[in-house]
Symmetry: none
Subunit: 202 residues, 4 copies
DNA sequence: GATGAATGAGCATTCATTCAT
DNA sequence: GATGAATGAATGCTCATTCAT
């Protein structure tokens, strides 16, 4: 597991989980507000409900907080996308359900997605790659769903469409000032799904 | 003009233009490399070919540099998209040409686009809105081209497709580690244009 | 006794002795490696084989560890010098034996001597004086041995020579990078003893 | 030159010299009082007469201050020993003069010598070796003076005696609480020189 | 107009010490 | 008696900004 790479002085693993959850919750609030660079470690500690000294018992560097945060966001997204895919039979109608629920998820997690877009680049190589891999996994899930639901699709086509769907979901977040003024979520989903269907064979 | 909002101590407007061009050139190089927050004003001054004191004769704060830089990138993009649109007759074939040349431009300006995505959020409200407006203008240009070339399109459809094209161009940049490993630029453009055509009426 | 000045929460005096011995052993290893200031109390606890909480049951401050350590080193040196002096008859030949075995001891305890030289200054006044007194005692022992073996020596001469011998022993430790490259221990002892004999009357 | 290895942001080399001299002066005062580790960079800046920001324009790390300080002390010692040796003809009487003036110098620079003894170990490998070399050079100077003034001496004997003299000089500083209570400087020099003469052939 | 030395608020991180369990 | 989680004052260092020359 990824989080195990972040070293902590605290022995009680359950406590580490609890404190890091507090930390991630605090950090997300702050990163939404002012971004990673403008947030101080003291603010993170305070928002997490403990002292600066305690913060550093659970991480090694400020960047660790960013990693834990990005990681948690991806996990959350991945888990829910996975769940929505697992439930469905591989039919075109269900593909639409999957995509729809993915867009809804993106709406729910708008601000978290923004954090990924704007701050993940501040991770060091190794951790950035780790997080990138999670992203890749998620696109792969969409790709597989596409291939199962629409067997006529070539691999390259499926991969591209998966990427497009993936990014159109994010777009609802990172272009919200523009998009959300023109469309309701339902409209947006409706139009994007319509286009998607036109794109698919048959 | 936007740049006029950034105050300078220097009277000679031509000199201001020259120095700011140097500054933007230096800043882009540095921001590509290490991002806005990790770049110091001293480094910007040095990369621009003058002293830190001189830098501050032409701007008021470090954020001004970011604004000038984002602004310059958008201007560059806008100018070239405008040119490509202006040349063409409103036919579907020419729409493809416009979109193709837009994707090529995004390929050329990959790193500049990344700067916009990752750093523009550090701008203060007012300037961020200013830059956002430029983005809106650009999407509008694509939208108008779409409506002219494909008259059957509704406004809402055209706006959404314009946004999709716009973001698919950026995607080539901000998801390059994933996308550019799977597709050549030509392949990417080919597939995206193909999907676009399927999406359009007729 | 000195160690009794260091307060402990623990009643069982034998346990205090045992834990402090562990502590001193751990501390010496660490101080040799990185010095007093660069060693943390956590490291000392760990090297001693118990927790940080337990460490503080047996001392009041980090400086106490330094004191106990310096004190232990001096005790060790003193004990062995005392033993070597006690064994001998007061003849010039035996003086040579005493000096020789002192130099050998200094060779054995090189790194401990270094600790005294480099860290004892970090002790607070009171404890520093206490340790200093031990040093004085040791020089006095050499001085007495000198006076007994070479009765013609004046007090002032004996005191100075005792100091010289004392420091020449340390020198083998604190100038080792220079001295030990030029001389083997035997050579060093041989030459220093030779000079000593020339210095003495008769 | 050694100091050139310490990088400064400031271009004006003369100013660098001036500021570093202030810094060394301030640092020596503080290091005498509380040692390197207990002295903060802020205190060094203040004692030097400028702000913490300015301090860091002239050095890169706190350790740089220690290096500059040790280096300056050695330079001062070396220069004066060199001068005293240069003046004299190679006779035994002049050897005594050289040694006497060396002891006087050690008396004058007592506290600076203590700094070398207690803090030089905190230098990083490279700089520590650099400083060590200066020490070696100084002993070599004494050694050469010995060989010139007392030609019958073997190299090994001369080297050892040079080291003894060198350390007996320092001893006046680092054992001052003991030695300076028993002897005046004149007495100390008198007795040590007397012993030295007994040691030398003829 | 250009320069670069000076400033000090601000930040990440450490670590001796305490105390509830 | 032992443990180890919690604390926060302290510290080294950075960097945007100013201003005298």
């Amino acid at each position: 597991m990824s989080k195990d790479k972040i070293v902590s002085n605290i022995k009680d693993q359950e406590l580490v989980r609890i404190r890091r959850d507090q930390m991630i919750k605090g950090a997300i609030t702050l990163f939404k507000e002012k971004g990673f660079h403008r947030t101080t470690t003291r603010e993170i500690a305070q928002a997490s409900g403990f002292s600066i000294g305690t913060l550093y018992e659970y991480i090694r560097t400020k960047e660790d907080v960013l990693f834990l945060t990005c990681d948690a966001i991806y996990d959350q997204v991945k888990e829910r996308v996975e769940a929505s895919i697992a439930l469905e039979q591989p039919t075109k109608e269900n593909l639409i359900k999957i995509v729809t629920s993915y867009f809804c998820l993106m709406d729910e997690l708008q601000e978290e997605i923004l954090i990924l877009y704007q701050e993940a680049k501040s991770l060091k190589k190794e951790t950035r790659h780790y997080v990138l891999q999670k992203e890749r996994d998620m696109v792969s899930m969409l790709e597989r769903a596409l291939l199962e639901c629409v067997p006529d699709l070539s691999n390259k086509e499926a991969a591209l469409i998966a990427n497009n769907i993936f990014v159109q979901g994010h777009m609802w977040s990172f272009r919200r000032w523009i998009i959300q003024k023109q469309y309701t979520l339902r409209e947006y989903i409706g139009l994007q799904v319509e286009n998607l269907l036109k794109t698919l064979p048959n």
